[in-house]
């Protein structure tokens, strides 16, 4: 477009210049308009990620301020209406108890909201530990290569050779016993056992992805430049490579959070998790599915929507940063 109307061009048809520039301007304006529209459209996130973010924000707000919100009952006192205990699934979903009551007369909605605290805290802290350890292992393996890489790769292979859930139930149960034998493990509650176990599960996949990315990054020009300027390995790892790994880590963390929360639910379902967990509610009420579907279905729904939300956000981030490993 522009070289056609270049005024310095001696060969340009002078007579029609005005018309041409006018048309060109119009065309250019159209183009800019289209581009702006595109940009604006892109700024509105897709429905999926919008849903995920909204759901998580609402859930987080409700669960943090649950004690102060008038419409959420206490999770530990049974519902009484006109002095009568609403136990044995007496109340279905309705105005008195939004999601009904369970076998002991507790409000299912209140329990679902309160227990989100434990689930989210376990998910977040085990992801954080997993990122820290897995990221460090992956960076070291991918950057130094050679023997370090071999050792770490074998370690990762070992962790991946045991199915995650099998490893989890085995470790949580054994930690029950082991902490009795070692006094310095006295601080370890069931919650920390689960966090520790889940973070071990998170280490291997993270280390793998970070290692692959680090291996690609270390060949890049800016690393070479830093090295020829005399930067130490530590400086290159932290100042050159780590910032470039952040998008990957954030993406994998979002998807991984969903997986870990599902794993936490599974552990509680099998009787190896917390009793204050959606998984435990599902297991406790599932035999009464016929009589009182609400006591099982609503915790299921919460678990499903939470995992789905993290997956949606993770998927969006993976597309945004073009990370293929996290996509599937």
């Amino acid at each position: 477009m522009t070289n056609m109307t270049d005024p310095t061009d001696p060969m340009a048809p002078t007579e029609f210049t005005d018309v041409v520039t006018h048309e060109a301007h119009a065309a250019l304006d159209d183009q800019i308009d289209a581009r702006l529209k595109q940009v604006r459209r892109r700024r509105i996130p897709k429905f999926g990620v919008l849903f995920g973010a909204t759901f998580l924000t609402v859930l987080l707000t409700l669960t943090i301020f649950a004690d102060f919100l008038p419409f959420i009952r206490s999770a530990d006192t049974a519902v009484r209406i006109d002095g009568k205990l609403m136990s044995n699934y007496k109340l279905g979903p309705g105005w008195d108890a939004w999601w009904g009551t369970d076998g002991n007369g507790f409000d299912v909605f209140a329990r679902c909201i309160y227990y989100a605290r434990y689930t989210l805290w376990i998910g977040l802290s085990s992801t954080a530990i997993g990122i820290f350890v897995g990221g460090a292992l992956g960076m070291v393996a991918g950057y130094f290569r050679g023997k370090t890489d071999r050792v770490i790769s074998i370690l990762v292979d070992c962790l991946l050779a045991i199915p995650a859930l099998v490893l989890a139930i085995m470790l949580v149960r054994r930690l029950d016993d082991i902490k009795l034998d070692y006094t310095w493990l006295g601080w370890m509650t069931r919650m920390w056992q689960i966090i520790l176990t889940l973070s071990i599960l998170a280490v291997a996949p993270l280390a793998r992805i970070v290692r692959a990315q680090t291996m690609a990054l270390r060949e890049r020009e800016f690393v070479l430049a830093a090295r020829s300027l005399g930067s130490s390995n530590l400086r290159i790892l932290f100042r050159e490579i780590l910032p470039n790994l952040v998008p990957t880590m954030v993406t994998v963390a979002a998807t991984g959070l969903g997986i870990l929360i599902a794993a936490e639910g599974a552990l509680a379902f099998l009787g190896l998790g917390l009793e204050t967990s959606w998984g435990f509610m599902i297991n406790a009420n599932r035999t009464r599915l016929e009589k009182a579907w609400w006591a099982t279905v609503f915790p299921c729904l919460m678990l499903f929507l939470t995992v789905l939300s993290f997956n949606l956000i993770g998927d969006r981030l993976a597309r945004r940063f073009d990370i293929r490993e996290a996509a599937v």
């Binding site: 070992c158 199915p163 859930l165 016993d177 599974a266 579907w293």
Partner: protein, 322 residues
């Protein structure tokens, strides 16, 4: 050949390291051999009993010797150990339950592939059209849905509302009674199949989209090869790489899912037995269980590695050169 040997040794190392770590985790935290024997048995023992246990499994030596003893029994006598809590050798405990889990895994993989391949090929062929978008949405949800949630929802629909299937599972094998087997295994198998099929579909679709953009596909179409043949023969064969890898890597997830599904549908299989053994601290059984699972995972991964070469001659060549 060198590559496979290297890979074999690597996987052997993984097996040994994992089983050794499992043994240490199972047996750590006992000050002396007597306590360890009591813990392994899960009940108080007479001195003679505990002495025989200590002698059989060399519990008075360090973990390394205990491991060698365990490995020796496993390799030379196929002895998986004894489950004192059930009063049975571990092998006897596992044998009646093996087929439940194998059948479930088989169904999940076979039906997963039967759903995934046509779906993914059609999605890739009609890329970005409505069919593809609907398929993407469905598989995205199916990949992420937690196993328990899917199982409970299926149970709610098919058992509670439609009353098509019994609410408590019974392990009846196809060679006993086919229709009863179908009634008992359909829902657990479906719960396992849906995520597996979704993952396979996503992987195959992504590969297939790439393949269909290659020059040789354009050439084949230009040459006048019918579209069905181009897609199913030329396209599919060159897109199987990730799918074959996934069959290997998904195995672990599948075993984990089987643990859940068997417990949820009350099917008596290896998974539900594992949960029972873990909960009752039956350390011998758990240790042997995990060893078998790791062995299966390692062997399947080796087979997957070998099968790359069968699918794609380029890999064979590249590996031969490297």
């Amino acid at each position: 050949m060198r590559y496979f040997l290297q890979r074999f040794l690597q996987l052997l190392l993984v097996f040994v390291l994992v089983t050794f770590s499992v043994l240490v985790v199972m047996r750590m935290g006992s000050p002396d051999a007597q306590t360890l024997a009591i813990k392994l048995a899960g009940r108080p023992l007479t001195p003679a009993e505990s002495q025989s246990l200590i002698d059989t499994y060399s519990l008075d030596r360090n973990f390394f010797f205990q491991y060698l003893n365990w490995l020796k029994n496993l390799v030379f006598h196929f002895d998986l150990g004894f489950s004192p809590q059930n009063g049975l050798p571990v092998a006897e405990l596992l044998k009646p339950r093996v087929w439940t889990t194998i059948l479930l895994g088989l169904y999940a993989n076979v039906f997963g592939l039967l759903i995934a391949i046509p779906l993914a090929v059609n999605q890739a062929y009609r890329r970005d059209r409505l069919f593809d978008k609907a398929g993407n949405l469905a598989t995205f949800v199916a990949v992420g849905i937690p196993g328990i949630v899917l199982g409970v929802f299926l149970k709610l629909i098919f058992v509670v509302n439609l009353e098509w299937f019994p609410s408590i599972g019974d392990k009846i094998y196809p060679w006993d009674d086919l229709s009863l087997h179908f009634q008992n295994f359909f829902l657990p198998a479906l719960t396992l199949t849906i995520p597996v099929a979704a993952i396979y579909t996503r992987l195959l679709r992504a590969d297939m989209v790439m393949t269909l953009q290659s020059d040789f596909i354009t050439l084949a179409s230009a040459k006048g090869v019918p579209p069905g043949r181009v897609v199913w023969k030329h396209g599919l064969r060159n897109s199987l790489f990730s799918l074959v890898t996934a069959v290997g890597t998904q195995l672990g997830a599948l075993i984990g899912a089987a643990v859940l599904v068997e417990s949820l549908f009350d099917l008596d299989g290896l998974g539900s037995q594992l949960v029972v053994s873990v909960l009752s601290s039956d350390l011998f059984t758990v240790q042997s269980f995990v060893a078998i699972i790791v062995l299966i995972v390692v062997v399947v991964n080796l087979i997957v590695d070998l099968s790359y070469a069968l699918i794609d001659p380029r890999i064979r060549q590249a590996r031969a050169l490297g």
